[in-house]
């Protein structure tokens, strides 16, 4: 269970950055977009956003809305965009790496040769 929470949390920043990269969004909107695809505690989004602001990956601005409280929009900075690209490519190699690992583990269950193979090209 802990692993599931951890890797969901880990990828949350990536999801947020990609969404903000499309257009500026506010916290609640981000939460809705993400929870449409990934089941996650929406509250965990705000610590991530805060950290991104602290790291200079995004900035915020307020926009009044006709109903409800003003919306705090998040905007990706150039540094944030560069970091996002880095994360995306990192993510893709990570996912394909794990997928390969899983496939091999299923194929050669307890097969020593595949484990050696895996260690040879990580």
């Amino acid at each position: 269970m802990k692993e599931i929470i951890q890797f969901k949390k880990g990828v949350l920043g990536l999801c947020v950055m990609v969404l903000i990269n499309q257009r500026d969004r506010y916290g609640f909107e981000l939460a809705q977009q993400i929870s449409k695809h990934v089941e996650i505690a929406e509250g965990a989004l705000y610590p991530v956003l805060r950290r991104m602001v602290g790291d200079g990956h995004c900035t915020t601005y307020l926009q009044e809305s006709t109903e409800g409280p003003p919306r705090k929009y998040y905007k990706l900075t150039p540094a944030g965009k560069a970091y996002m690209n880095e994360l995306v490519s990192e993510w893709e190699s990570f996912v394909s790496g794990v997928a390969t690992l899983l496939a091999e583990a299923v194929d050669g269950d307890a097969d020593v040769s595949s484990e050696v193979n895996l260690e040879a090209n990580p």
């Binding site: 509250g43 705000y46 610590p47 805060r50 790291d55 900035t59 307020l62």
Partner: protein
Amino acid sequence: MHKEYFLLKLKLGLLPLPEEDRNEILAEYDAHFEFGKQQGRTEEEIAKELGDPEELAVELLGDRDEKPSFSNGPMNAAHMNGSNEMPPPWQEMNHQPGMQHGYDSRWDNGQGNHSMPYPPGPEAGAIRSRTVFGIIGVIFASILIVPFLIAGWGVCIGIGGAAISFLVSPLLYVVKLALGGVFYGAEMSLIVLAFGIGIFLTQVMVALFRNYARLNMSYIRWVAHVGRERR
């Protein structure tokens, strides 16, 4: 969980943060509730989707560990670096207070870095917030329980006093007669009756005192235990 309760729990968890940062975070969650309600969801549903406020507080406190850097690997790797990388406090002065649209100075303009000079690290934060909750819980429970305990002792003392006065009433009657009081048969039988009740009350008292003392002890032990367990 209602919005107010959620925000209160979050606030308690965020007590180590400076007030400005704390209010800013709370305002953001507050707004989240408002947006959710606009979409016709109840406060309970929204709170459930947000997750456990205590855990969120721990997460938010953990943020203070990181200094701004543009690439330190995957985002969550930053969680791992402990407090050994802390910059000295005087390097963290690029904080800008929020000045926004007159809505509420709780909002931040997004540029400020809110790193704290001496963060305890995520783990220490977790333990500390639990301690705070434990202690606050004990305080609130005690506010409720202690008056009842004191009232109970009052009842005990009252019954004890009655028992003693009933027991000594024959003695006092004898004194009264010795001082030249007039003897009435009815009075005499009342005194005898009072003495009987006194004996009865004494037995009740002993049992009551013993059990009540045990109850009080269990409360004291509970308080002491909570303190010890959380430390």
